[in-house]
């Protein structure tokens, strides 16, 4: 199993450009998440999905969009990149019963470092 795979690992964008961060998992997990990590700020939840076709906002969703057309893939879209979106982005997944306790361990990808200049 590859686990959670994120691409690209590094990217530099100009202000106003768009891009998609890819995330794929091969563990048949139903829940998937996007977090961003800013220095000294911990991990902030951007968007999450409880299954194919279902997505919901997290703590910091502005400036991002997601889709979940398959169980395996959960891409994160930045439409108009801004310097405030410079961060390290982590995708994560877990399995849980729908309406479950929410205690399942999160498995993280290695991260995607994005710089907006």
């Amino acid at each position: 199993n590859a686990g959670v795979t994120q691409t690209p690992k590094f990217r530099i964008l100009k202000i106003g450009q768009s891009m998609t961060l890819q995330c794929a998992q091969d563990m048949n997990h139903n829940y998937m998440y996007w977090y961003r990590q800013d220095p000294g700020m911990g991990l902030k939840l951007i968007y999450y999905s409880v299954g194919a076709g279902i997505t919901d906002k997290g703590e910091v969703p502005n400036g991002y969009n997601v889709s979940r057309s398959t169980t395996e893939d959960f891409p994160l879209r930045l439409e108009l990149a801004a310097p405030s979106q410079t961060s390290v982005y982590f995708c994560a997944s877990r399995w849980d019963q729908r309406g479950g306790q929410g205690h399942g361990e999160l498995f993280f990808g290695e991260g995607s470092r994005l710089t907006v200049l």
Binding site: M41, G42, Q101, H103
Partner: protein, 113 residues
């Protein structure tokens, strides 16, 4: 509004001694807590967890203590090893059905040989 707080950005400990990492939370509805460990250029990995119905959980060198009345938990590493040097994140699970983990800001642990 930081619901999960790790007030010590860094901690330095000698090899073989105990490392104690602390975490405070504000939401009394949190019912499950986890610790994640993160090495540079890698994603966080799960370390240990505790349910709110317990006050202690142990796994080898790692023990997590939960004090619900104080809304405080701590991670003890005994004995500390240089390979334990990493950033440690405390996380809390929001009430059943909300599907989210709320993370603290992390503590950088440096274990000196």
């Amino acid at each position: 509004d930081q619901q999960v707080k790790q007030n010590s950005p860094s901690l330095s400990v000698q090899e073989g001694r105990i490392s104690i990492l602390n975490c405070d939370y504000t939401n009394s509805m949190f019912d499950y807590f986890l610790w994640y460990k993160k090495y540079p250029a890698e994603g966080p990995t799960f370390l240990i967890s505790i349910s709110s119905i317990k006050d202690k959980n142990e796994d080898g060198r790692f023990t997590v203590f939960l004090n619900k009345s104080a809304k405080h938990l701590s991670l003890h590493i005994v004995p500390s090893q240089p390979g334990d040097s990493a950033v440690y994140f405390c996380a809390a699970s929001a009430p059943r059905g909300s599907n989210k983990l709320i993370f603290g800001t992390g503590t950088l642990l440096a274990v000196q040989p």
